[in-house]
Symmetry: none
Subunit: 472 residues, 2 copies
């Protein structure tokens, strides 16, 4: 079909309408008549009428044909422009999405969301692995995937790494997901039903609240120490009465936002307590391989005797942020998680899995991790120095041993919602403490992302935030 011909036919008819030669309500020639009259192909005539319709000049009346529209009643252009009022978001989700939106703006200094810089990751090697896999096996693109669990090659590679970290999991007991986000959604949907209550540490990553909220679940927060993690006494008290809590959801290794790591004996005690009370534990291990000193803390699953720990991880923070390949080791909930995975996204695109598996099998991952951890350690340390130097006296800081976020506590009474607003006016995106709890407890706190190199621009931004904080 001639791409220009249909348009010129359409414009020609539009001119007839504009001139009054064709008037509102007039019936246009049938498609076939138009073909005959102008020597057009059927496709061109149809395209011309569709163009006129899209432009609002004519309307199709089913079974009758095409008619000239009354002026002032253009159809589709204006239905797009004058959209009906949108359903607006409320609560945590709306605030979270504002953070997300801010990070889409390239002009902002991105200190809010925990996104590591792209140059830290081996894009070229991953591209080669992916391309090689697709050349070898076109089915990775063209064959409808009916296996929600994942590619055996990647299941094997992840199982090997978990075994090396002290937590053997059978490859078959892993389900590959779209990043850790999907893994956490599946885990929660597997163990809880709408109306159930989930126990989380406080402060905790705002994305977890969003998942909990949209699944129709309730939340209980238990205080978490920035060094050792969640209070076991708090968990004990909250779970003492049977049926009050249906699952616990934690980031035991390099928690977000505090950087806390639960020591092994605390993980063991927590799992024993929850096992005894028949309460599943969902652990988000997305930062587990990002310890600054190279230490890889064990997963809580290591102490699980009953298949009641669902461990979730991802390569989005450590290897390939835009491929969004994650995993879940769902213990005794494997069958249900596979079913939920199937209905949620059917399967994780196998080509993405093949790229990650190829890279892991090539042996370069540990070298890459060593460099990455060193970068995150360095950037986090530099950010700590900057906060020390520029923030008001009395400001307190977390001492993360892994990951790439810093938790900052300003003077009592400081309002970081206000600070974030003012920072945004100066082109700086921040994550205020109120996002990390449903309570007001962290209103004077702030999370700073250290995933980006600390450039002079970032330094200037931190100095400015310090000044704004002092003026709160």
């Amino acid at each position: 079909m001639d791409d220009f011909l249909y348009r010129s036919v359409g414009q020609n008819l539009a001119a007839s309408i504009a001139s009054g030669a064709l008037q509102a309500g007039d019936r246009l020639p049938s498609v076939r008549a138009l073909c005959r009259e102008r020597g057009l192909s059927l496709a061109t005539a149809v395209a011309a009428y569709r163009w006129l319709e899209a432009e609002g000049h004519i309307e199709a009346r089913p079974r009758s044909g095409y008619f000239v529209r009354a002026p002032g009643t253009p159809l589709t252009r204006s239905t797009v422009a004058e959209r009906p009022s949108e359903a607006r978001l409320i609560g945590t989700s709306a605030r979270t999405m504002r953070i997300v939106d801010a990070h889409r703006r390239a002009d902002l200094v991105p200190l809010g969301a925990a996104c590591p810089e792209a140059s830290l990751f081996p894009a070229e090697a991953l591209r080669r692995h992916m391309n090689r896999a697709a050349l070898r096996d076109p089915d990775l693109i063209a064959r409808y995937v009916m296996d929600p669990a994942g590619l055996p090659a990647l299941q094997n590679a992840i199982a090997r790494r978990l075994a090396a970290a002290g937590t053997p999991v059978a490859p078959d007991d892993l389900v590959i997901t779209l990043g850790c986000a999907e893994a956490l959604n599946l885990a929660l949907a597997a163990v809880a039903r709408p109306g159930d209550t989930i126990l989380v540490e406080s402060p905790t990553y705002y994305g977890l609240f969003q998942i909990i909220e949209t699944l129709g679940l309730r939340v209980i927060e238990v205080p978490s120490d920035p060094v050792d993690g969640i209070s076991l006494a708090g968990v004990e008290a909250a779970t003492r009465v049977a049926g009050q809590v249906q699952a616990v959801l934690l980031v035991p290794n390099f928690a977000n936002p505090t950087g806390a790591v639960m020591p092994p004996e605390r993980k063991a005690a927590l799992v024993a307590m929850l096992n005894a009370r028949d309460i599943p534990l969902i652990e988000d291990d997305v930062y587990g391989e990002l310890g600054h000193d190279g230490e890889r803390p064990p997963l809580a699953k290591h102490w699980d005797r009953r298949g009641e720990v669902l461990s979730c991880g991802s390569y989005s923070k450590s290897l390939a942020p835009a491929l969004r390949v994650g995993w879940i080791a769902p213990g005794r909930y494997r069958e249900r998680v596979e079913m939920l995975k199937f209905r949620n996204t059917v399967a994780t695109p196998p080509l993405l899995q093949a790229a990650i598996a190829g890279y892991l099998d090539s042996g370069g991952y540990d070298r890459h991790l060593t460099r990455l951890r060193e970068r995150f350690r360095h950037q986090t340390a530099r950010m700590m120095q900057l906060v020390d130097a520029h923030f008001p006296a009395g400001t307190r800081l977390s001492s993360p041993r892994g990951g790439f976020v810093l938790w900052v506590e300003l003077q009592a009474g400081a309002d970081t919602d206000l600070l974030a607003e003012r920072a945004l006016e100066h082109g700086i995106a921040l994550a205020p403490g109120s996002l990390f709890s449903q309570s007001d407890r962290f209103r004077h706190c702030l999370r700073l992302a250290c995933g980006q190199p600390i450039t002079p621009r970032v330094e200037a931004a931190v100095r400015l935030i310090g000044q704004l904080a002092a003026a709160l």
Copy 2:
């Protein structure tokens, strides 16, 4: 087109059939011959035959023409009651997963799940587009994605196709998803809360029950005609009392499993009714571009005046099954759908989006679709012949005008759950009718997938199923 003429032509031919002038199995004149004989327009002749088909007098056999049906075998007009079933919680997931599992076994003849064969898709061209995109922009692998909506290049390409199909949607009003499955999950989560009731057509694709069930929703089934789709009277009755139904979920174009297409005037009437009653409509258009005769039926969204139609589509059945790229045009629920997308999978991997966008922009898609439709048409027609030849007398068949599944109705009392079990013992995977409803209404029905070439192995399998069916 004259609205009464086609009907009087149809009634005239129906009278010839009733009188015996035209007998069961007789071939009717071709559409063009009918035009000549009676001085009709093409549209009127086609409409007359479709009316006869819808009324159960004749059947279309692809590549062969129209034939007079055996008396007493009109399909399902009469078999469905107009009263919707009661709302109830459902338990399909386990059975669905058995079908999925069966299709992972390479040794089975796959007549159950609707998976087209891999060789039908341009894997090599997609690989080149993907690799080129990754070479040009390593961020497509390495940059953490904070845009849940999708790549503008793909949003634009999809918006162009929708406009060409008569339904202009602004590119910004599209959210790219992990296949149609994620789109449907997001759509349902956007408009309904746990405990709400969703109206679906009956029979309907079992995967929809699975999504509804796992979101904690209830379902009402309204009978669907294998030619025209869902009963409007049934929808009217079920939605008459405000608050009883929170959303309607349909496949208006080439429904799965019946192949029904809602005619434009029925779509218009449905949308007008639901708009007036403030009930969102979720339409699954995954088969919309797979019409056997190249016809691309309009989306129901075309008639939406209130932003209350959420249209979902995908390239998994038409272009790249293993890349799992789909989309949703969520109308006034855009903000909520973006938020839900973010918490579900954060974003669709941009490299997959770039591959699809590159292919669509290259202009090869329409040529590919032409070949694909022809293959599906051919395979479906061949399957119909095989069923005709080998199934027991009294077996009735749908006449799908698109897609690649066939709906088969065996003799009353036949138990296709049993048939599927026996077929599996012989190495054949089947989808029994009971999967397609929460009621027992389709226990004697069966869906046959025609996405694979009809090899001698498939022929032998259909012959065997026919024998097993006769012995039920």
